[in-house]
Symmetry: C2
Subunit: 270 residues, 2 copies
């Protein structure tokens, strides 16, 4: 692990990332020692920093990324980047715009390789996402809603949880974005009020182009979808075979759009 | 500073408080070496832990609090307690319910002693608070909304910022709760959807008893208030003499209810 370019395992107890979640993060797939979608991750990180009023030293960050990848023995894994605003005394009001860069390389999650092929079961979480346009889309470090939602499913037969916002609109998985074919049209939820605009989602939006619409989706619409899949930049694309509430289970077939999305992901690995 | 009872200045970069803001905090006034409203702070912390599904070792915490106060040279200051959920691998889903206890003692903020007597100017922030009943009331570590709001006022002539929720209801200051006399009645905003249920607010609610109503308050109602004050357990009660937006300033007189609330605060210091 690197903290501002120096090997480190700890950070000051006064850090604003710890105190207030005053920061952003990225989790980047490392495949054959190469960071996948690295340009997209860095673009999102820079844009998030700008939105929160933080100044990121991107030259230093890129050099640290290269150094971590060059010196590690992990050839397939997850590179996590956190940036937290520098502290200058107690209190919410930031005194400085500069921020810490924290890099850590982890083994890849040991999910079954069959998920992309065979699909997953998704739990419909009771925990809702609040609507906050000032933070929507950002991968910031205020993640208690996702933490609470992730506690809900009873066992590991559920690979993801579906989250709605407080208005009842479908937004995303706890750690993935969602696409669905509804009445023959490929849709993904609008994230202007809630949710994380994932790198994989952005790649797929570009890839599908005019073939995909960003639109509000209700749970009722989703339950009648022809096809559903979730995506993130670490695991790629997982078809959703069932949505489950305590009362009911809805079943879906894996479909063509998930296969097209998977092709887009596997191309990036080459 | 103590981390789980041991002197420490740093915490692991893998901490869930840092990664996700997965924790809670209290800031406790220390006056003449004694922690003020300590029972109320511990009650709120325990209740917050229960709500987030964290198990806090309160026996250890109380012993650590006593130890920090006994060994420090600070007789007047702020004792900050953070609790963060123990990590067990990457990912939102918590593996453990136990948590870290982080204690730090800081000098008291050097605010002018004249604020309780002469009152303060309050800036009306554009940043809104989202509505999230699962987290409302808790002093959790997801505080980006307060951080963004605290960047808004232009200079230190503003001692606090007023925050509304995304529905336009008045909720609180960035680091204080608010009371207002409107049409002769003492009111404080309902915090069931947004905001932090402060310890000083709770003390005042008990103290005023039937003389105060918890109710929704609009900005328009507040601008026509007879008297406004903000409170927290560190600074006590500050009368609000003006509310300012970029376009307009509303003026208020300091009043009897603020004086009564101040008496309640100063009694606790004896």
């Amino acid at each position: 692990m690197l903290l501002n370019g120096q090997p480190a395992s700890e950070i000051t107890l006064l850090d604003r990332g710890l105190a207030y979640g005053d920061g952003l993060f990225e989790t980047i797939l490392v495949h054959q020692r190469k960071p996948v979608f690295i340009a997209e991750h860095l673009t999102r990180l820079r844009s998030g920093c700008q939105q929160l009023g933080m100044e990121l030293d991107t030259v230093a960050l890129e050099s640290e990324l290269a150094s971590v990848l060059a010196t590690s023995t992990v050839s397939h894994g997850v590179l996590k980047v956190m940036v937290t605003r520098h502290a200058s005394g107690r209190g919410y009001r930031p005194g400085l715009a500069t921020c810490n860069r924290i890099l850590s390389l982890h083994p890849a999650p040991d999910y079954s390789v069959s998920h992309p092929e065979q699909g997953i079961c998704m739990f419909v979480c009771r925990q809702r996402l609040s609507r906050q346009p000032a933070l929507a889309g950002l991968k910031h470090m205020n993640r208690l809603e996702q933490v609470l939602a992730s506690r809900e499913w009873p066992d590991e037969s559920f690979m993801e949880g579906l989250m709605l916002d407080t208005d009842g609109l479908v937004i995303e998985g706890t750690r993935s974005n969602l696409f669905a074919v509804i009445n023959g049209k490929l849709l993904t939820p609008d994230l202007s009020q809630s949710g994380v605009a994932g790198v994989m989602r952005n790649v797929l939006l570009k890839n599908f182009g005019a073939g995909v619409n960003v639109a509000p989706i209700t749970l009722d619409q989703l339950q009648h979808a022809d096809e559903i899949f979730v995506c993130n930049s670490i695991n790629g694309i997982w078809p959703v075979l069932s949505l489950q509430t305590p009362d009911h289970t809805w079943h879906f077939a894996s479909g063509d759009r998930a296969r097209q999305a998977q092709a887009c992901f596997t191309e990036a690995l080459v």
